[in-house]
């Protein structure tokens, strides 16, 4: 048996080690601060929301009366408004955003790509109040005079497109949100598609795939978990967006099936009524809505992680 002797000389250099230890301490502190911040926010919201939670219990989430004068609070219309307006936004923004990303990453002529990509990022930087103004003065009249009467006449048999065309309402909120999240979905999806190795495209092309077939089977499939991530980023933004939605959704706490009807979102009600919340219970109810928004966001993100994990997971077995 041969033994290799390892010399016991000290390789440790004290100053460098000290620097490493200090750096590690500082970085650990930075990470800890983040965790503490989240914990502090949750604890603070829980404490303030406690009176409302005691008074209404589960009824807070499942009832739709919002009467500050009688101090009866049910948050269902806000949860409904947030979820529906965000989903509507995704329905419009995903095909548009992913489509634009495919064009930018795969098909567009080389000279047009940088200016277009820059433009997309520019659109993402427009403040949301601008979108809100545009929504009130351009989008809502357009919906009221053209789009909603047309939808009512053609698809009016569906409960989604019934009722008087106000212009402002769930449809306007969904469209505004869609316009706001499209640049995010486009920008991130484009990065995802650009990260797909060229060898994958060549594999498909060499098999005699057309441009579209190559995009579909080599590029989109390769990047699908990243694309889901891009969509989630858009969803996260839609769920939390406050200003633009508040300006166009109509702010009526009702659960209405029709997309023409006004609605309300969690973020909007907090922004609108925070200054008027004179009684402790009213304030407590608003904070509980904040907590609910937090919970909804966490649930959506968790579901999304699950989705990413399941599409990125092992390929399903073929059936013999």
């Amino acid at each position: 048996m041969s033994v290799v002797a390892i010399p016991h000389t000290a390789v440790r250099t004290a100053p460098r080690n000290l620097g490493d230890r200090i750096l590690r301490g500082v970085l650990r502190l930075a990470a800890l601060v983040l965790v503490l911040l989240v914990a502090a926010i949750v604890v603070e919201m829980l404490c303030t929301a406690l009176p409302a939670m005691h008074k209404f219990g589960w009824r807070f989430v499942v009832t739709s009366t919002w009467d500050p004068v009688a101090e009866r609070f049910g948050a269902l219309p806000f949860v409904y408004g947030t979820v529906v307006s965000s989903l509507l936004a995704l329905l419009i923004a995903v095909p548009l955003g992913v489509g634009a990303a495919i064009y930018l990453a795969e098909l567009a002529p080389a000279w047009i790509r940088p200016p277009l990509a820059f433009l997309v990022e520019l659109v993402a930087a427009v403040p949301s109040v601008i979108y809100g103004l545009w929504g009130i003065f351009v989008l809502a009249p357009l919906l009221r005079t053209w789009v909603q009467p047309f939808l009512g006449a053609t698809l009016g048999f569906l409960p989604l497109f019934q009722g008087p065309p106000y212009g402002v309402g769930m449809l306007a909120a969904g469209i505004i949100l869609a316009i706001m999240v499209v640049p995010f979905i486009t920008a991130v999806s484009r990065e995802v598609l650009l990260a797909v190795p060229n060898t994958q495209r060549e594999a498909a092309l060499a098999l005699g795939a057309t441009r579209w077939e190559t995009t579909r089977m080599a590029v989109l499939r390769y990047g699908r978990s990243g694309l889901v991530g891009a969509i989630l980023l858009g969803l996260g933004r839609a769920l939390g967006e406050t200003m633009a939605v508040t300006m166009v959704i109509g702010n009526r706490p009702e659960v209405a099936l029709s997309l023409f009807a006004p609605g309300y979102t969690m973020a909007s009600v907090i922004a609108n009524e925070f200054t008027e919340a004179t009684s402790d219970l009213y304030l407590s109810a608003l904070i509980e809505i904040g907590l609910l928004l937090f919970v909804v966001t966490v649930i959506v993100n968790a579901l999304a992680r699950l989705l990413v994990w399941s599409v990125g997971g092992p390929v399903k077995a073929i059936r013999e």
Partner: protein, 252 residues
């Protein structure tokens, strides 16, 4: 009658960079032709011109004539997609589709051609995997992801994927450069088995490999075909001084 691959006055560019100069070559059908030369000599570009893969790079350009098994590859009106369906290609790095199973990887070319019948697909998959000497290793794992295989298996999977559509020609661009010696030996064995049924063109950095698997060898240098001839003769008695310098390791 199959007539192999005929190339005449082939020139290729990347933008302003002239990478292939007046290449003319006649490669025999149902035989293995090896192309050797130092990095950057244009041999990979050359085989990518044979199935019109060169032009997928932005700014790339080709002039000249290529006939593959009687078909004029660059005739006006010829769809490059149709050309590529008839010419199989294997790349330097194994590139199976990671989101597809082993089975789906093999039959992807047939599906592109519109084949949907399960029985036909299964038969083709088994035949191609047997041809690629991979069947015994993966027959119980056809549903597993294509990237769950080892590197050598992945490369044979890519060969099976190319063979599944029954091409007349197989182009191999340094197929063993990312593989260990054992996996390399398997691929070489496979090439020797396949050569009675297909026309194979292999680009390689490894001169021993060229000597082992090919009947004819071409030596490329700086975008020119310096010498082309029977493999044994090229390696034992090269006509050109530059070929001799290269194979004896004096440069490159």
């Amino acid at each position: 009658m199959a007539d192999g691959i005929l190339v005449k006055d082939l020139n290729a560019w990347f933008g302003d960079h002239h990478v292939l100069h007046d290449i003319g070559i006649a490669m025999a059908p149902k035989a293995v032709t090896a192309l050797i030369g130092p990095s950057g000599c244009g041999k990979s570009t050359f085989i990518r011109c044979l199935n019109r893969m060169h032009e997928v790079v932005p700014g790339a350009r080709v002039t000249g004539g290529v006939r593959v098994e009687g078909q004029d590859v660059y005739a006006p009106g010829v769809d490059p997609v149709q050309i590529r369906r008839k010419i199989g290609m294997v790349f330097q790095k194994p590139n199976p589709f990671p989101t597809m199973s082993v089975f789906d990887n093999v039959v992807v070319g047939l599906r592109l051609g519109g084949m949907r019948e399960r029985a036909v697909l299964h038969e083709a998959a088994e035949r191609a995997l047997r041809q690629a000497a991979l069947w015994d290793e993966v027959k119980d794992a056809l549903g597993k992801s294509g990237v769950s295989l080892s590197g050598g298996q992945q490369q044979r999977l890519c060969i099976a994927r190319a063979l599944a559509v029954e091409p007349e020609v197989l182009l191999m661009d340094e197929p063993c450069s990312a593989l260990d010696p054992i996996a390399t030996a398997k691929i070489e064995e496979l090439i020797l088995e396949l050569r009675s049924t297909l026309t194979i063109v292999i680009v390689t950095h490894n001169m021993q490999q060229a000597a082992r698997v090919s009947e004819a060898t071409g030596f490329f240098l700086l975008g020119e075909l310096v010498e082309f001839g029977v493999t044994r003769q090229l390696f034992t008695n090269p006509r050109d001084k530059r070929t001799e310098d290269y194979i004896t390791g004096r440069f490159g």
